[in-house]
């Protein structure tokens, strides 16, 4: 099944020739900054299934997890497109749900980095909440 998406202005488009392998909301401080104060909502795909067209600006930094992460955004409209982990290798690519033509493709299955969520954040009580990354202790197992 092929999934499609684009940025806000349409300069960047992409296709994904695979189904998602997961979906999660991330409240790390870096994500809140790029997501206008919200969590990023990330749909996970095998990186080699994702093909972009258009110009993309990338920024590389060491994330709160300690991993080296590359984030991509559209230089014309600023839409956040993806993040991928450069070190360690082999993790799925995170496509920002807002850029998918179908943002309902896979609802979040967990919430991560809730330790840094603001007090006003509403965390879905049906989902497991992780204090930090996806391998960190679960604070709420969900229902």
């Amino acid at each position: 099944m092929t999934h499609t998406g684009q940025c806000f202005c349409g300069q960047v488009r992409f296709t994904v020739d695979a189904d998602p392998v997961g979906s999660r909301a991330c409240w790390c401080r870096d994500c809140q900054r790029i997501a206008s104060g919200s969590a990023t909502i990330n749909v996970l795909f095998a990186e080699d299934a994702v093909a972009f067209t258009g110009a993309i600006t990338t920024i590389e930094r060491v994330a709160d997890s300690g991993n080296t992460v590359e984030r991509g955004f559209c230089p014309k409209c600023g839409s956040q497109l993806y993040s991928k982990t450069l070190k360690p290798a082999g993790l799925p690519m995170r496509i920002r749900a807002g850029t998918l033509d179908n943002p309902e493709l896979m609802p979040p299955q967990s919430v991560i980095w809730v330790d840094s969520a603001p007090g006003w954040a509403v965390l879905d009580p049906k989902l497991p909440h992780h204090a930090k990354g996806p391998d960190s202790p679960i604070l709420n197992r969900g229902t």
């Binding site: 870096d30 809140q32 206008s36 919200s38 909502i41 230089p75 014309k76 839409s79 956040q80 006003w120």
Partner: protein
């Protein structure tokens, strides 16, 4: 925490000092905000430009709105951090993204708007004033 508020983008190229209180703080679920903001809503504190010192280069993306106004989104060209949005109808005011503001600002959304566009998985605080589409403009201040 009362004013002044400070803000910086992810890479530090854009900074701001804001010496006034916001007119309102809104969470916007319109489809364009979801596209720009990684899938969730934007969370916006509406400040008067008279209160703001902004430093650093910004990129601007302009979009025509159904109302006939022009909406502009300003972001850091180096790291992509969204900084503020602005309507041509209210040039004296900017909707600063809560993620751009430094920790400890204490601001929180008081209203959720454009819920007609929100995905089914969205979780909305029931305590917020809610609008399916655009709410009335904020009351003038000062």
């Amino acid at each position: 925490m009362p004013a002044p508020y400070t803000g910086r983008c992810g890479c530090g190229a854009v900074t701001a000092t804001i010496r006034g209180e916001p007119v309102g703080v809104r969470q916007c679920w319109c489809r364009q905000c979801q596209q720009a903001a990684a899938g969730g809503p934007t969370n916006n504190a509406m400040f008067l430009f008279a209160d703001i010192e902004l430093a650093g280069q910004l990129s601007e993306r302009r979009t025509p709105a159904a109302s006939g106004n022009t909406l502009s989104q300003f972001f850091c060209p180096q790291c992509g951090t969204p900084v503020y949005g602005q309507s041509s109808a209210r040039r004296h005011m900017g909707s600063f993204r809560l993620g751009f503001l430094d920790e400890g600002h204490g601001l929180r959304p008081d209203m959720a708007i454009w819920l007609d566009d929100a995905p089914d998985w969205a979780v909305i605080d029931p305590a917020l004033q809610q609008f399916g589409r655009q709410p009335p403009p904020p009351a003038a201040k000062g």
